[in-house]
Amino acid sequence: MSITYLEAIREAQAKVLRDDNRVFIYGQDVGGTFGGAFKATKGLAKEFPGRVLNAPISEDAMVGTAIGAALHGMRPIVEMQFADFSSVALNQILNNAGTHYWRTNVPVPITVRLPSGGTKGSGPFHSQSMESLYAHYPGLVVLTPATVEDAYTMLIEAVAIDDPVVYCEHKYLYYHLKADKLPTEGMPVGKARIAREGRDLSIVTYSAMVHEALTVAEEFAREGFEIEVVDLRSVKPLDTDTVLASVARTGRLLCVGEAFPWGGVTAEVIARVSTEGFHLLDAAPQRLNAKDTPIPYHPNLWAAHRPNAKAIAQKARKLLRE
């Protein structure tokens, strides 16, 4: 038996619906017999009547409704059809959910699922990676699972967390990633994972880019270079200790992210390593992101817009020579 990243997300939701009667799912097309644009809630409406609800195309009100329900004892999961559309709900996520605990001492346990990242032909409005934007604002936990196991355990944990969680699931990994079985427990949220050990260079990344980095590490191993790949797992909180420990072993840092280049996760990692671990570095830290344009539609342009194994390898080779 094998299970995909997408199935793991569905199974995690089935589990929390089964185990916790405070949980309900709210989003466009999640209910009825449809089961969501990507089928992440397939069959759940039938299995859990009245708890997997179709919402109107009102992202702001969906999140607002989830906040109100969470304040009165529920554990809502909001599915955005695409991460890109969560921009319509920014106000509720950032200004209402994100400020609420600080202001009132009452936390808001909502989970907002963002089908994130690029896939071929999806264009500017169905491809975005918004983790950096959410991580910038106080009061939110931002998760970016890169494996089937993490997709499963981190979503279960997200629902259990008393604070608002933005759960960024990568659409490219939905069908491409498979595991033999679901884990019974995982690493806790907030801890980064060493996806591959190495001694020559640390590639710090998250979500789909973990797999591109692993491909590069494999390729370089054949040439005798050992690249360490750090999967951040959660971008907020950011596990600076694990990153610094990795850089202490390798002396070289390349940070890779699929989001736009200005600011963001890669900039944050480099800033932290530079301020706290400057003495550990043997070369200037480097980063690789998508280009600073909207995400292109045509596959030729799209492939050049986002980082991939080839681009990572190029950067890595240059950094290893320095």
Binding site: D60, I67, M74, N96, W102
Partner: protein
């Protein structure tokens, strides 16, 4: 206190809106949800907010509900049913809807949620989404919209182009009612009935009240843009003066009783202010600077 520099930030009052607002708080019970906005001091007090919470929030006392982290009208006690507004208008409508859905799921009966908006806030996307989702979910919601004829300084003709805002009720699947917001009796009657209908399971209720804001947007604003013509309109009357006239005309209370009430109210306000003034202000060195409640998930930035 504001003019003396003892209050940081703005002060927002509900002059002209007291009759509408008090009626909003008056008919709510324990277990109900109230999501007031900027001009709802009367409604908050009627809902049961202690005056000392007002003073503590304006003065930033650590013992207040917001502990100096937020101020003035952004206060609330969400677990007691009084939601803490954010400044972005319309945002609290869907939050009220969600709270009512949670209560329905938990089997709480006879519940109602009331939230307020102005004619300015009615033009936001959040209000549109919130009203629509309220009707889709068929929650027992009352939305009281007060048209005070200015969004800060912008008059109605640059705010909306429909004949009457109450006409929107039908489009959303609400039941809509209009009131003269300067008439306390009408406010109590119409808003009270709307609360009763929502409680009884009727569709969401929209009440649109017409008044003139008898002050600036905040105490910093001299409201010089409010024209002399509009001040002559019937909706520009002071609801407090009208209410007082009706009370004395009908012999419900004499002038001496009214004077006593006023004195008692002033004494209560003085008490609340003097209590809050004795309390410590927030201390940045004692602040934990944590925006999430889960301590192990705090992001440590050097």
């Amino acid at each position: 206190l504001y003019r003396g520099g003892l209050i940081s930030g703005g002060v927002y009052v509900g002059r002209g809106q007291e009759a509408v607002s008090v009626a909003c708080g008056m008919f709510l019970q324990k277990g109900d949800i109230f999501a007031p906005l900027i001009r709802d001091q009367a409604g908050r007090s009627a809902f049961g907010e202690p005056l000392v919470d007002v003073a503590r929030t304006y003065l930033g006392s650590r013992q207040g509900p917001m502990r100096g982290r937020d101020g003035n009208i952004h206060r609330g006690k969400p677990l007691d049913g009084q939601l803490a507004m954010i400044s972005h208008l319309g945002a609290m409508i869907s939050v009220t809807v969600g709270a009512l859905m949670a209560k329905r799921t938990k089997g709480e009966k006879n519940i109602v949620g009331l939230t307020t908006i102005g004619e300015g806030g009615m033009q936001t996307g959040a209000t549109h989404e919130g009203m629509n989702i309220a009707a889709v979910e068929q929650v027992p919601l009352v939305l009281v919209a007060t048209n005070n004829h200015y969004a800060y300084s912008t008059p109605n003709d640059r705010e909306f182009a429909c004949v009457d805002l109450v006409d929107r009720a039908k489009g959303y699947g609400f039941e809509g009612y209009s009131i003269d917001g300067t008439d306390l009796g009408a406010c109590l009657d119409v808003i009270g009935s709307a609360v009763k209908r929502a409680r009884a399971g009727r569709p969401p209720q929209l009440v649109v009240a017409s008044i003139l804001r008898l002050s600036g947007h905040g105490e910093h604003d001299d409201a010089s843009y409010i024209t002399d013509e509009i001040r002559q309109e019937p909706f520009a009357q002071d609801c407090l003066a009208s209410a007082e006239r009706v009370i004395t005309e009908r012999g419900l209370a004499d002038a001496e009783t009214l004077r006593q009430w006023r004195e008692e109210a002033a004494a209560q306000v003085d008490d609340a202010v003097s209590t809050a003034q004795k309390e410590a202000a927030p201390d940045p060195n004692e602040e934990d600077w944590c925006a999430v409640s889960t301590r192990e998930l705090v992001d440590e930035i050097e």
